[in-house]
């Protein structure tokens, strides 16, 4: 008996001592900062994690900068169904609900946190092939941080400036615009200086990695907006504005020009042969389809051109300098994100709230109808052709905008606010017909075959998950136009007109002498719907006037003929009140003791549904 007691007490004593060890647990699915990152593959994972934020934001594109920039611009309206207040609010520069764009705010900050972490820790890893490899990688992190801040700063104006993983945990006051933009531009400069002077593909990097030239392009974009919007720098007279970087050093106008010239000359990026080759409707599966009215007509008119979608069969677009890449990785489990497929396609796709059969929209797939094209864009474009192109039809107009009445047999939707007869072709989902079978996205057949058996992952033939083609965020064409604008040269503009002429029976005239006016038009039309127009009209100081041109244009409200009436005081009123900045999510204002709300979001800023 005594022995039993003794054993028992000994056991208890032993347990007490070994408790702490017994209570230590280990994670089998996660590393932690004490043991990660250590080697090259860790660094590569960290970088992939930063890029991944592009997909994360794309999971909920509705409130993102790319969507907002499109809808708020003068080229498109809000659209969507009766309850899609989000789209309509973005068009109207209004707000609805307390946290309208909180998802985007949250997701982009996650991207910044990831970039900060990568910048801080990649240098500690070992096993790089050479310094170039390491510097390229860190440069990518700087580029992405700059890009993410570019979007946040464009959307919200002033935010906290968080450049490391430690500060982020606390309440940080909003930084001045000068600091924020000084930081964005400085990150671009740092990236440019660090990264090897070789295109990513030349370095042997897989498609999707950004390189030094991408950073130069972003630098140009950020410089133009910052100096135009904040310094009121008129590009004709005072374009030679220098800027002060966050660390106090100066970046001169001349240096900016040098970077852009470097990008134009040395980057290795080039224009796609035809303008139409950039957009998915020219894919090999649907371009020859009898029901593809536009392509059939085009090919008949310009028999000399041979159209081929740059991204056919995993192809790479030669002018895409920075893009979001997609995949079929999405699964219906908690770990993966819906944004692995191109959700902008779905959102911008032609609205089908139940009224359309497939053939009504072909070659386009169905979507939710964000951003119907405003009629003023169509008419402005036509007058540009008359006034700037000597009456020659710009083939880019019909290559970018679907004229519903002419191209397809769509019926008006009964649940659709601000429907117009014009649709954005660049960001649409594209369907295809093969052997009498209809595929909701051309990718479904191109990569998944007849029945999707070879399609790894989810989304095959799914209108919501089956769009996998790249979303191009910076195109070489834009860099050409930056060069023209910065340096007052006609080269960039003329290169684009020459390219456009490839798909036109009559060539577009070349521009003899530089004109700021012509540059503005060229930018608007070449880059329509690509997320740059809104910042352009803001930095050129023409936003209020341009936006009001959408007023009283023809629209359909729930299928009835109507006009685009002023809501909440009208576009210019709202622009003048907000300067185009969105409302900072109220939950964030109330959680912080320091964050201040943007101007223009007091009473009258809430959109409560369309008033006819």
């Amino acid at each position: 008996m005594k022995n039993i007691l003794f054993t028992l007490f000994a056991a208890i004593a032993f347990l007490f001592c070994s408790c702490e060890d017994a209570l230590d647990t280990k994670s089998y699915t996660q590393a932690n900062t004490s043991n990660y990152p250590q080697k090259l593959s860790d660094a590569q994972q960290l970088i992939a994690g930063v890029y991944n934020n592009l997909n994360v934001v794309n999971s909920n594109p509705g409130g993102s900068w790319y969507m907002y920039a499109a809808l708020a611009s003068d080229d498109v309206l809000g659209g969507g169904g009766d309850t899609d207040y989000l789209f309509q609010s973005e068009d109207l520069l209004c707000n609805y609900s307390s946290n309208m764009t909180n998802q985007f705010w949250k997701d982009r900050w996650a991207g910044i946190n990831r970039a900060n972490n990568a910048i801080a820790t990649i240098g500690n890893c070992i096993g790089f092939k050479d310094d170039d490899q390491k510097n390229q990688m860190i440069g990518e992190a700087y580029f992405l941080r700059a890009y993410y801040y570019y979007e946040l700063a464009s959307m919200y104006g002033k935010m906290p400036l968080i450049l490391n993983t430690v500060t982020g945990a606390s309440d940080v006051p909003q930084a001045s615009a000068d600091s924020i933009w000084g930081s964005i531009i400085q990150d671009c400069v740092t990236a440019i200086k660090m990264m090897p002077s070789k295109k990513a593909s030349v370095q042997g990097l897989d498609d999707g990695h950004v390189d030094k030239y991408g950073a130069e392009a972003l630098l140009g974009r950020a410089y133009l907006f910052y100096t135009g919007f904040y310094k009121d720098a008129n590009p004709i007279n005072e374009k030679k504005t220098d800027v002060t970087l966050l660390d106090g050093t100066a970046l001169t106008y001349a240096e900016v020009c040098t970077y852009i010239d470097d990008c134009v000359t040395n980057s290795g990026y080039s224009l796609a042969p035809q303008f139409q080759d950039i957009w998915g409707y020219s894919n090999r599966l649907s371009k020859n389809d009898d029901a593809n009215y536009y392509m059939k007509n085009l090919m008949a008119n310009v028999p000399s051109a041979s159209f081929a979608y740059c991204e056919d069969d995993n192809g790479i677009n030669p002018e895409a300098m920075f893009k979001i890449k997609f995949n079929s990785m999405f699964t219906w489990s908690t770990e993966t994100i819906i944004g692995y497929s191109n959700e902008y396609c779905l959102f911008f796709g032609m609205r089908d709230s139940g009224g359309q059969t497939w053939s009504n929209l072909f070659p386009f797939g169905q979507g939710w109808g964000a951003g119907p094209v405003a009629k003023n864009l169509w008419s402005d474009w036509k007058s540009y052709e008359a006034n700037y192109l000597g009456g020659v039809t710009d083939p880019r107009r019909e290559a970018s905008i679907c004229d519903v009445t002419k191209e397809i047999s769509r019926v008006k939707e009964k649940d659709f606010i601000q429907e117009t007869d014009y649709f954005n072709k660049k960001n649409a989902p594209y369907a295809c017909n093969v052997n009498g079978k209809r595929y909701n996205t051309f990718e479904s057949y191109m990569y998944g075959g007849t029945d999707g058996t070879t399609w790894v992952g989810a989304g095959w033939n799914d209108t919501q998950l089956g769009n996998l083609h790249d979303l191009i965020l910076i195109r070489y064409a834009e860099v050409l136009l930056m060069q023209s604008e910065l340096e007052g040269s006609v080269d960039g503009i003329n290169k684009l007109r020459t390219r456009a002429s490839q798909s036109s029976a009559t060539p577009l005239p070349q521009l003899a002498t530089y004109s700021f006016d012509a540059l503005k038009q060229e930018r608007r039309f070449e880059l329509a719907f690509e997320g740059v127009r809104f910042n352009d009209i803001r930095r050129w100081g023409i936003a209020a006037t341009a936006l009001d041109k959408q007023l009283d244009t023809d629209v359909y409200i729930d299928g009835s003929t109507n006009t685009n009436k002023a809501q909440n005081g009208g576009y210019s009123t709202r622009y003048n009140a907000t300067k185009g900045f969105a409302k900072i999510p109220e939950s964030q204002i109330s959680l912080s003791k320091l964050l201040k709300q943007n101007d223009g979001y007091g009473s009258g800023s809430d959109y409560n549904g369309w008033t006819k």
């Binding site: 039993i4 408790c19 702490e20 649940d415």
Partner: protein
Amino acid sequence: MKNILMFLVAVLMSCHIIAQNTVTGTVIDGSDNTPIIGASVMVKGTTLGITSDINGQFSLKVPAGKNTLVISSVGYKTQEVNISGKRVIKVTLATDTKQLEEVVVVGYGVQKKKLVTGATLQIKGSDITKLNTTGALDALQSQSPGLNIVQSSAQPGSGYKVNIRGLGTKNSYSPLYVIDGAAGGDINALNPADIESIDVLKDAASCAIYGARAANGVILVTTKQGKSGKISVSYDGYYGWQNVYKLPTLLNAKQYMEVMDQVCFNQGNDVTYDWKSYMPASRYEAYMNGTNSGTNWLEAMRNKNAPITNHAINITGGNDMSKFSLGVSYTNQEGIFGKPVQSTFERTTVRLNSDHVIYKTNDRDIITFGETLNYVYKTNGGIATGTMYWNDVRNCMQAYPITPEYDDSGNYYMWTDMVADGLSSYNTLATNPNADMYYNRGHNISKNHSLNMTAYLKISPIKGLTLKSQFGYRMNAYDYRQYVPAYQMNQNTADNYTDVVSQSAGMGWSYTLDNTINYVLNVNKHNFDIMAGQSFEKSGMGEDLSASGKNLLFEGWDYAWLYNLSGNPSSASSSPWSAGALASFFGRINYNYNETYMCSLIMRTDGSSNFARGKRWGYFPSVSAGWVVTNESFMQTTKDWLNFFKLRGSWGQNGNCNISNFQYLSTIGMDGSAYYRFGTTMLGSYTKGSYPNILPNPDITWEKSEQLDLGFDARLFNSRLGITFDWYKKTTKGWLVDAPILETAGTNAPYINGGNVENKGIEIGLNWNDKVGKDFTYGVNLNLAFNKNNVTSINNANGYIDGPSNTLMQGTESCYRVQTGHPMGFFYGYKTAGIFQNRAEIEAWKAAGKPFLQSSPQPGDVKFVDVTGNGTLDADDKTQIGNPNPRCVLGFSFNIGYKGFDLNVTTYGNFGQDIMHYYRDQDRRCNYTTEVYDYWHGEGTSNKYPRLTAANNVNWNKISDIYVDKGDFLKISNITIGYDFKKLWKASPLSQMRLYASAQNLYTFTSYKGMDPEVGSDGYGDTYGWARGIDIGTYPHARTFIVGVNLKF
């Protein structure tokens, strides 16, 4: 069995016998005249004795001069018999239910009920089984004051939300279940027939012995234990028919078309619907002239007379050396919704408990061991219930009555039919919801195996001292298989060309080791019961595996196995369970003086693996005391009417450590939410990514709950009236909460110790039991519990945490939150002041300077109230518009017995709580219930519901109190009438032959207009456990009629 008995008898025969006078006799059960096996027959004043055999007979040699035998058996009143001059005696023992009642389980031991100083509650197994519910918790609802039990969905096999004395915390609010001494089991897995008793520890002092995990109270379940005595075999079985109690009335096809036209008109649209273009002329005619009322989708998915069956066999027996209890049961239940693929639930349980004495001396068992073993196999399949996006009941309420269920050839009405008829151009929601359910959710089964076992060894080396070591093991394994056939429902749906099969499986286990030492010491009238112990638990050792793929070589549910895929699975994944450990040391001293003055001291310390070193250990003390006033001499005068009166008071602290692990570490996530696709291969190729996935909180530690309890127990009028009363105040401090942080942090918020809540309330239990004349017995039970819940602090800047948006319907903001100064999960939105009846009222409102939320208000619009009074209506004007927590929970029952007849009526009620309900989305032209006719349609028609409009109208898409209704209800939850045919057929070999019929959920008294006022749902798939009362179309409780038998051999 026979061999065992022979052996046992042989053992008994071998006892020492001193040859004197021999007395033989029979011991008989007074209630049914059956022999009692294993009754102890002792010669008074000696250690001589024997036990009765299988026929209840004994033969004992009694020394000369000894004339009294003491005959005892567990469960019977001990009797002394004078044997002077007798050789053969017959002893009839009366059953002693009171004696059994008086022992309650208190955690690591038992205690006499009259000596308990905390607030505990015992429910006997028989009180649970008599309600014939498939699970024990359902039966507890009406019998346990202080327990709030609701179901989020009444789909068969669904779980329950249980909280004791109000919600005390935000994330993990469930009590700790301890089954047969092993913590963490699943009470829903038990068949009620296997339960001996359930003890609920409500106050902190009682719970303190389970320190770390006891903040939400403790529920101790004891399964049926072996009894010495004759082998008893019982069979309980029933069969029932379940039906919907109440369905909302949906608009029929004609009404629907009229209402949709009215919506268009009210919106001022010039578009009207050309109904004839959406369907063949003949169908339109039939809808209009009433020969066809269209599809009532709720009726279409009903499973009428859904069967429910239950069979349970229990066998117990043994003697003073070995006892066993064996139970086998089978339960099968179909759901009332989801036809033709209705929800199903099937459960088989096997239980074997036994206790054995290895070594005993005459007066004591020195070494005993025993085990409990419970194996459960469950399968269930179901339809979608959860968020509004995953809810077949709601889908059916929203679907168009103009959509037929079947086409002319009897197949589901699908996309091709819609296109042919033109319905497709009305809306894609014309989708057939039953076809959707059939194809997408109709073929799935989840199987679950669980094994719970404990084994103990008990040694009592000296009198009063007991050492006990118990090992508990739990295993759980599941698998799930789903098949989605190829179909074409509408033009957007995925995977319509190929079928898909998904399978997943997982298995895991945990163990507990408890060692206790107990010493009972009685010195004069000072009685001590001292216990000390140690426990170690390791849990979450297991793994999951899942995969899915498409395109089966053989189509069909039977062939839906990954093996039959034509290619490889398109996705596959596996992960380990999250392992954790808990180490504990505890001690308890129970002291009483002459069973009049009692006190109890408990101390426990726990270390949990969920926290970092240095923050792990928590200490949980408690103290309680009681005073049996009626034992005092000065109370003698009241003794004739006040039989027992005990005052008690207790104070204690408990903990909660239930959070996910590694909150204290700065972890790096490498999961599928961080990949990026570089390169030129579109499908399947990607680079794995990583990211810091949490802001670490190295300081994270226990959540603490502190509770003060004062109460009394009394028995009056010859113990016919029993009263229990408790007042309590429970304060939970330092909630473990994932409070929102600034998004600029860029990663996930860690759990913090960040909130306090207070629950105050009283509980009253009254029961009256009496007998009139010889044959008539009756009893009445009333339980009342009042609770007030108030959040006193949330440790973040804004002082609140919101629920999710898009809960009540698509496009709405969050409708409930947790906020300082309000009850948990209160409804949050705009207050309204009725409806503008006419222009004049609008002008008057405007003249008074009151703001509008409508841009151009019209008669029939809602008067939203400017709560802040600052002249504008914005988010600041949102306020508390309802409280989903009942103020009072009532359980009332009575029973009557007369000559073999018995009648039992049980009712259950909740009072003072609100419900937020809405059954449709504002867009997509969803169908309405006939409540639509109560909407404002002219002056004086309604002052609550605004005019009928389409989606984009603030009247409907702002959360306001127009959606809030009073939720008070009283349910007649059970009426049972039975008769025991043993009374007619006395010679039957059976001791009981009861036949009964029962009605469950017979009638509900309520003013609530929705389907079922018992709404446990958060409207969001149970993601927000602290929220309830959101009725977006939940799976309602069935009304069930049952017939059954109880047989006992």
